[in-house]
């Protein structure tokens, strides 16, 4: 850490190096540069070492271990197993089920969360008194941990929980809601609704920063022409948000594909695998069953999926703008 004293002590060894005749730089300056290099590397060192150890190495390991039979705790070192894990994965019905569930989740959550967040952003973008209060309130679920949110909604979704009581009240006793999380048809929609509730405030902020980049002059010009509110949105706001839009699309998609916490706290993948997900499958294999190699194969397929989908999204949104 002490970059000033360490290099100062070192140059005692450097004068031994004969100076090249071609070097025109005064020795003093070269020494200065060398010292700067050393100090620079000393400052970069800790971060680079940690990133290497905890990002690069595990990323490489995901590739490597997927082709072995590694177990989390095992007396034997892992041995090469070829494509065994992938063969097993692509024959696993649970894996296809998790792909389908995640696709279902993402296809609904992405537009719903982006849309709700945009409406919220438009509502709190107004320069009227009291708007800051609502901005704070909409943001509260974002700072609340997903674990806590899942617990809270576990209660709300009970057969005799808050949601069903409200439904019964609002319909004057005509409708009695289902046991949301124990029903294959309603478990995933319930998780979707809760996830949007938790995440929309986050994307509201990103929409807001996009809205603030749109020039007020455009709106003034539209006003002079007597353009209606919808058309103002359609021809000024919406095109003005194009880069924000692709950003939001990609962040919500990756977040949706990584669905795990809600599932682990609320349903454990059930009922009847109707809410199992890719990350949930990977955790179950790698942690509960200690099959690191199989979990690495799932992680690898998951990463490829994330890469392909966000690549396609980037390509599509780039073409439009």
């Amino acid at each position: 850490m002490n970059s000033s004293s360490a290099p100062a002590a070192l140059p005692a060894t450097t004068p031994a190096v004969p100076s090249k005749p071609s070097a025109q730089k005064p020795r003093q300056l070269r020494k200065y540069h060398r010292r700067e290099q050393r100090a620079g590397w000393a400052m970069l060192g800790p971060a680079l070492l940690l990133l290497l150890l905890f990002v690069f190495v595990p990323a490489m390991l995901a590739f490597g271990l997927a082709f072995t039979n590694a177990r989390l705790i095992s007396p034997n070192p892992p041995t090469f197993a070829g494509l065994d894990n992938f063969v097993r994965l692509f024959a696993d019905e649970g894996f296809y089920r998790s792909l389908l569930n995640v696709a279902y989740f993402a296809v609904i959550v992405v537009p719903l969360q982006a849309g709700v967040a945009l409406i919220m952003a438009l509502l709190v973008n107004a320069k009227v008194r009291g708007v800051n209060f609502f901005r704070t309130v909409y943001f509260l679920p974002v700072v609340t941990s997903m674990v806590v949110v899942s617990l809270l909604w576990l209660f709300i979704y009970r057969q005799d929980g808050l949601l069903n009581e409200i439904i019964t009240k609002l319909t004057f006793g005509a409708v009695h809601g289902p046991d949301w999380l124990n029903n294959t048809a309603t478990a995933m929609p319930a998780i979707i609704l809760m996830s949007v509730w938790q995440g929309a405030g986050f994307h509201m902020i990103i929409w807001l920063s996009g809205l603030q980049t749109i020039s007020a002059e455009l709106y003034e010009a539209a006003d002079i022409d007597g353009v209606g509110r919808w058309q103002r949105f359609r021809y000024i706001t919406w095109p003005g948000l194009s880069s924000t839009r692709s950003l939001i699309l990609i962040t919500i998609t990756i977040q949706a594909l990584s669905l795990f916490t809600q599932i682990n706290v609320m349903t454990q993948g059930g009922p009847l695998d109707s809410t199992t997900t890719i990350v949930y499958q990977a955790v179950r294999a790698g942690f509960k069953q200690q099959e690191t190699s199989y979990a690495s194969a799932i992680s690898l397929v998951f990463f490829a999926l994330v890469l392909i989908i966000s690549g396609v999204q980037r390509y599509l949104t780039r073409e439009k703008s």
Partner: protein
């Protein structure tokens, strides 16, 4: 009645000629804001209010607005019971310690790296920065499982009385909950962006006066980087406090567990929802208090973390 009508019509009239039409004025906007406010605030309000009620009353109040109101038989009994059921104090101390150390080390190590990349002539720094930013596309979920295996292979120094011994495996330690999350590509990127906006003339002048690089970092650049430090602190603190997937896999001992893992204790045997709500409130309110105190920094940090995608 007449005056409200007048006011609304005046507002409606003002809307079409308003110089800033981005304003969504009028009754519709306020109805929308309030409805959404209810949707977002009431579940959390329900959680906090229920934490003060006995179980029976929680269920009794469900069918009326009382579910959201602090009425009836209120007490902190649930909070007391939480401490009997779960080593909650231990979990809180663990989480506070883990988050604090991660934030402090994260700010230090990432800002040092960003300083070198932004300010100093380091060979190959262009490539280094590109490599660091490239890691942002990898979601943690894809690294988590190979990482569990990997940390179990890492050597660790164990102090047993006065004997230092080298053992293998970081599983079930504090360091495994901290060290992997200290260096963060996005924090480096944020610091780098911010340092680039600080005029380099300042440190050149200091160099002429014979100041060391570390002194420039400590005395010139860091004191000018308050907003970046706040942003990185919040972006490091939130996932550290909220972490769940990682400690679930790498921590077995009760005395090392963080707060989020504590929720599991409430579903063994008979569930007391009042206690669940009390524990949930207890681990949420500190973050909400921090958020309300540092609102601007929170919002800025979230806005900048969106850029990550």
């Amino acid at each position: 009645m007449a005056t409200t009508l007048e006011r609304t019509s005046r507002r409606a009239g003002a809307r079409s000629t308003s110089p800033n039409p981005r304003r969504l004025r009028g009754i519709g906007g306020w109805i929308g804001r309030i409805l959404l406010g209810i949707v977002f605030a009431f579940p959390l309000l329900f959680m906090f209010v229920s934490s003060l009620k006995p179980d029976q009353q929680i269920f009794g109040d469900l069918s009326s607005i009382a579910a959201f109101l602090p009425v009836g038989n209120l007490s902190f009994d649930n909070y007391g019971a939480v401490f009997d059921r779960v080593p909650a104090a231990r979990f809180l101390i663990n989480s506070i310690g883990i988050s604090a150390v991660t934030v402090i080390l994260g700010v230090l190590i990432n800002s040092l790296a960003a300083f070198a990349l932004s300010r100093m002539r380091v060979r190959g720094k262009g490539i280094i920065l590109t490599l660091i930013i490239a890691t942002l596309i990898v979601p943690f979920e894809t690294l988590a499982l190979p990482l569990v295996w990997w940390v179990n292979q890492l050597p660790t120094l164990e102090l047993d009385g006065f004997n230092l011994s080298l053992t293998t495996g970081w599983l079930d330690t504090y360091q495994v909950q901290i060290i992997p999350f200290v260096a963060n590509a996005f924090s480096i990127y944020l610091f780098h962006q911010y340092f680039d906006s600080i005029p380099k003339e300042l440190d050149e002048a200091a160099r002429v006066d014979g100041a060391s690089w570390f002194k420039i970092y400590r005395k010139i650049v860091m004191p000018l980087s308050g907003p970046a430090i706040a942003t990185v602190s919040i972006l490091t603190f939130l996932p550290a406090w909220n972490s769940y997937l990682w400690p679930l896999m790498v921590v077995q001992s009760e005395e090392l567990r963080p707060v989020m893992i504590g929720v599991q204790y409430f579903f063994q045997l008979n569930v007391s929802w009042g206690q669940v709500m009390a524990y949930s409130s207890m681990i949420t309110l500190p973050v909400v208090a921090l958020f309300i105190a540092f609102q601007r920094s929170f919002v800025n940090s979230i806005a900048s973390s969106g850029v990550k995608g």
